[in-house]
Symmetry: C2
Amino acid sequence: MIILKGAEAAAQIQREVEERLKALGGYVPTLAIVRVGEKPDDLSYERGALSRMKKFGLRAESHAWPADISMEEFGERFRRISEDGDVDGILLLRPLPPQLDEREIERMIDPGKDLDGISPENVAKVFLGDRDGFAPCTAEAVIRILKTYQVPMEGKRAVIVGRSPVVGRPLAMLFLQEHATVTVCHTRTRDLERECREADILVSAAGKAGMIGGNHVREGAVAVDVGINVTPEGKLCGDMDFEAVSGKAAMATPVPGGVGAVTTAVLAEHLVRAAERRKEQGRV
Amino acid sequence: MIILKGAEAAAQIQREVEERLKALGGYVPTLAIVRVGEKPDDLSYERGALSRMKKFGLRAESHAWPADISMEEFGERFRRISEDGDVDGILLLRPLPPQLDEREIERMIDPGKDLDGISPENVAKVFLGDRDGFAPCTAEAVIRILKTYQVPMEGKRAVIVGRSPVVGRPLAMLFLQEHATVTVCHTRTRDLERECREADILVSAAGKAGMIGGNHVREGAVAVDVGINVTPEGKLCGDMDFEAVSGKAAMATPVPGGVGAVTTAVLAEHLVRAAERRKEQGRV
């Protein structure tokens, strides 16, 4: 069985980014990370993103705001960043505390800087298959890791477990762009094992440790685990029982070291793309 | 076999609309139909929409513009309608001639009046499962006809043939809202017959006469035909070979008289919804 390593995909993206930075002639794109409060998940993702940007030769700045920030204050600060000529791209760590209206915030962000595809404009583009839009980084990371290992997608059956707006749904659209036949399963799906066994490419994005076992995987399938869960012992694990799945699959991603290791590399690629466009438009 | 009649669903929608019109206290919502050129398809759809609005007690006005209208002129006129306080909803007949930039036009329409869900705002809402958004009328008509005949969707396998932005993709999202397990097939799908035979609910929106036959349908399935094609003899027909399909399916929609007969009723319901919201906002 081949282990699909996120580091491989990230290294490939790094080479692309370095090429394109050269073409930008010394301009160093800047990412603004916006974090509200001090949630451990957010802090860990932020650290990962900051170190990735540095490694790729990109600039990043972190904006940490108090957990009890009012919607008014948030809106004022967030708009200022969105309009800041020195900022090429924005990553907003979510979910946000309840006093902040995410729907309204999604409409505040400049779609050209919206690297994680939260604005209606980018959501619509991804939905319509317009490659010009920014897809959520995690969904795109799945496609990137498959492409790195040259997994054919055209005409293949891709089965996604999970229908969330940040992974399952956009990933379904990205698979359609790759000409895969796509099935989306979820908590109400009647016979999940059977649905999953139909997959040439099985992606789990359900957020439930160990929910995908050997019975879910057809001999020779490709298994991609987007889940990031923490065991009672504090260990990171995915949605898949890796040992059981490896016994069947031809290729599988580990957790950690799989999709999660590609996400911030995709973010970096989006940042460079945003900067390239701003340059074309004479905005930098 | 039960024939799923569009007229049944339309009559149910009419009763709802009449109730809600009463609650609007005499206010009669107005639809603006925008047509460019004189394409027979557009003229026929326009006639259907006008007579449906009249039948439901709604107002409709038709704006017919020359096929060679410039983008500038179109934009000016279209914005005027979108901003017109007397217009509650808009239907733009598409596709438009090549000199008109559909992407730009989708961004001009007031999302609150965008009854056929073409604005990024509504596309994003449908994608995210936000029932507040307007879905494309044809996609919603499929769900309406199934609900009229109380076809259970939760946990069922819905298979859609066709991945277009106006039917296949939004319909996939609407089925997810109904908690169906959804598969989207298309021209690159490897074994279409097999995929279709897995369906509890099979929907064809491919626009190819006779492409779905008896081998595509499982015994007892529900078959919904969204295709509207014209035979060489000038007769209307769907994507399904109705006779062959009826031999297998438990329920099936005819063409004409199926989904097509529900679409303008959904449009009318959207118009009333738009007017209700404008009233809530004190705009009428």
